[in-house]
């Protein structure tokens, strides 16, 4: 036969490391598809650990690490995981990672471990983690899954850090334990409401309000 039928070597264009599609994995959850304010997941820890900035930062890093690596592991195993037990497999992987984070904190950041204590363990129940595994990692390649996890982790992080910023500023008159008002020479009365979880609800509500007004997002 003629040469036309000869198979052309399939040159699959390698996707750039940060292609437009991949960038969206990271940027979408920051605003338009934020896990906390739009999907309303992970609210529990957004209330519990946001009294001060420093523990909040540790929590944000811990959650981001857990999402990224559980996404990676589940994505690597996605062709092996039997469908019937996939939830329990995800749970086991997440629980292992969370326990590792908790043990490392206990060994190298004991003061943080004492503050965050149970909440680190409760990352297991953070819906964002399992949500990303179910919705993304089970059906996508490892690298994409990591990016997706990073996006969700950062989306969660900036929200809880924003909540913690206002709670610490008004509740304890400090930022990262630095007494801002005292440094400015102002006598600022602290607001007990901000130290309570109610303060977190209010600030989170305000953030959601501002964000939805700006994005024109409506619940369907």
């Amino acid at each position: 036969m003629s040469t036309e039928t000869l198979e052309k070597p399939v040159v699959k264009e390698a996707e750039p490391l940060f292609s437009k599609r991949r960038k969206k994995f990271v940027t979408d959850p920051l605003n338009d598809d934020n896990p906390v304010t739009v999907q309303v997941l992970g609210i529990c820890s957004a209330l519990a650990v946001t009294v001060k900035m420093q523990p909040t930062l540790v929590m944000a890093i811990a959650v981001t690490l857990v999402i990224v690596f559980s996404n990676l592991l589940i994505s690597l195993m996605r062709t092996l995981i039997p469908n019937r037990v996939r939830i329990i497999v995800q749970l086991a992987v997440v629980a292992t990672l969370v326990t590792l984070v908790s043990e490392v904190l206990k060994a190298y950041a004991f003061d943080m471990y004492k503050v965050l204590g149970a909440y680190v363990g409760l990352i297991i129940t953070n819906c964002i983690v399992m949500g990303r595994l179910e919705a993304f990692a089970l059906a996508n390649k490892p690298y994409d899954s990591m990016l997706d996890g990073l996006g969700s982790g950062l989306g969660y992080s900036w929200i809880i850090l924003a909540v913690a910023f206002f709670r610490e500023l008004f509740g304890s008159a400090s930022i990262f334990d630095f007494k801002v008002f005292a440094a400015m020479g102002l006598d600022f009365p602290t607001n007990g409401l901000m130290v309570d979880p109610i303060g977190a609800f209010m600030i989170l509500g305000l953030i959601i309000w501002v964000q939805r007004t700006k994005n024109g997002y409506v619940e369907h």
Partner: protein, 253 residues
Amino acid sequence: MRQSNAYVLLFSGVMTIILGGALSLASVGLKPAQTKQIELDTKKKILGAVMDISNLKTGEEVLALYDKRFKSVVVDINGNPVEKDAKGNPLIAEKIDIQKNHKVDKEVRNYPVFMFLDENDPSKVAAYVFPMFGSGLWDWISGYMALDGDLNTIKGVAFDHKSETPGLGARITTPEIQGRYVGKEIFENGDLVSVTMVKGESGKPQDAHHVDGMSGATLTGKGVNAMLENYLSSYTAFIKKQKSASGQSAMAF
């Protein structure tokens, strides 16, 4: 194939072994660092009851200072030294978990005493630190109380808690509340009266056996009172022995 029971069982088994193995490795590998952190935390709390240690930056400095200035002993409810636990292992005061210890019956509990030695004359005890444990409003509270060398005047206290309400009961960890205990006395005419936190926050100074309360945290205050009463009464035998011993000569431990 991926749906067969055998595959599911095999997959679960292998996964359990791998994850379990990883966790065991981490646990064993991190154990020394964790033990050291817990030890450091305990010693920081003990030191914190007698002096300001906020100028000490590293853990090594804290441990060095502790080793230099502290001696410890474990006593029973009658004030007699205990050297071995029920299994015959040597007892180390710093290693006693006060939370676990608290669950044991009061009569047979081991009571650690930490002695803060005089800076110039290490044969004298400048302060005694007693660990204590009890219940707050929501969960456990714990504390270290330091008594002056006279075993009556409070030199300082350091309270800790698990989940008292922030801004209310959790104030027991603040210097403001703990400072109220300094200079109070636990004995009157040789009888233990402890120090009681009153109800309500008047802002007025109280007599030698009472401290001002915490507004909105009366129940946490009650927990603290009960804890002090409970443990000080257990230490009374030791304190009395120590007092009469130091009346004659320097006690020997």
